[in-house]
């Protein structure tokens, strides 16, 4: 497979748009709520390499609070890439090491699809109660 680009390597294609992209930022919001023994970290927006470190720090800090249960809520995510998969897999490993039950509120189809294609859907337990903590 070489595609149309290669057929015209030495012959620039006609363009309808040329230049630098200018788009509004599509960041990630991280909300943490806690009740005795449990906590929820809710992600909304777009999860990629620009936000992965902040989200990872927030989850790892939560897992180290000595809680019994941590719920990761992906239902507000519009987009997630492989850095989001790493965030979840590392969170699962930390939770297991610390004896914390980690479960997910799954996201929409685009997020589920990435988890499915990455082969990690079965690693995560679905949260018993998807409602937000008080």
């Amino acid at each position: 497979m070489v595609g149309p680009f290669r057929r015209r390597r030495s012959d620039r294609p006609a363009q309808t748009d040329l230049g630098r992209a200018s788009h509004p930022a599509g960041g990630l919001r991280v909300d943490v709520s806690q009740s005795p023994g449990s906590a929820r970290i809710a992600l909304s927006g777009q999860f990629d390499i620009a936000s992965a470190d902040d989200a990872t720090r927030a989850l790892q800090a939560l897992l180290n609070r000595g809680l019994d249960v941590v719920v990761v809520d992906l239902s507000g995510l519009d987009f997630m890439d492989s850095t989001g998969v790493k965030f979840l897999v590392e969170g699962r490993e930390t939770a297991r090491d610390l004896g914390v039950k980690l479960s997910l509120v799954h996201g929409g189809d685009p997020v589920r699809r990435v988890l499915k294609v990455a082969g990690v859907m079965a690693l995560f337990e679905e949260a018993d109660d998807p409602r937000p903590l008080p």
Partner: protein
């Protein structure tokens, strides 16, 4: 046939900028929601690869070029950098899932190491892509 071209600094903001640009382009070409989701993940992963592999040892961010072309029901996207290529790293921020996700979510893909250096990821998508039957 419609084409467009963009150029980004290889920073952590570039995958999001590229994703939003290609989604707008593909959306204007009539791509289905499913196709838009596929393109978003694959473009994000390809640009992220350029950031974390190609320019890993550079003091200043290099450039990532993106070119797109709609030809019938096919959307072709090329991501190109001028860096060191897909250098393996054990601390990959996406668990090394980027290329497998591209392979699974695009209709076809190819990685090229041009004589002049750098790496090109060429991907084709079906703009009429529909969800698989359950």
């Amino acid at each position: 046939m419609t084409t467009a071209r963009w150029s980004f600094d290889a920073t952590r903001q570039a995958p999001g900028d590229g994703r939003r640009a290609i989604q707008q382009f593909a959306g204007e070409a009539g791509a289905t929601d499913r196709a838009l989701d596929s393109v978003a993940v694959c473009v994000t992963e390809a640009i992220t690869n350029a950031i974390v592999h190609a320019y890993r040892h550079h003091d200043r961010p290099g450039r990532v070029e993106m070119e797109a072309e709609v030809d019938g029901d096919s959307l072709w996207v090329r991501i190109r950098d001028q860096g060191r290529g897909l250098e393996p790293r054990l601390d990959s921020p996406g668990l090394g899932l980027g290329l497998p996700l591209i392979a699974q979510l695009s209709a076809s893909s190819e990685i090229v190491s041009p004589e002049q250096g750098g790496t090109e990821v060429i991907m084709r998508f079906d703009v009429r892509e529909q969800e698989e039957a359950a």
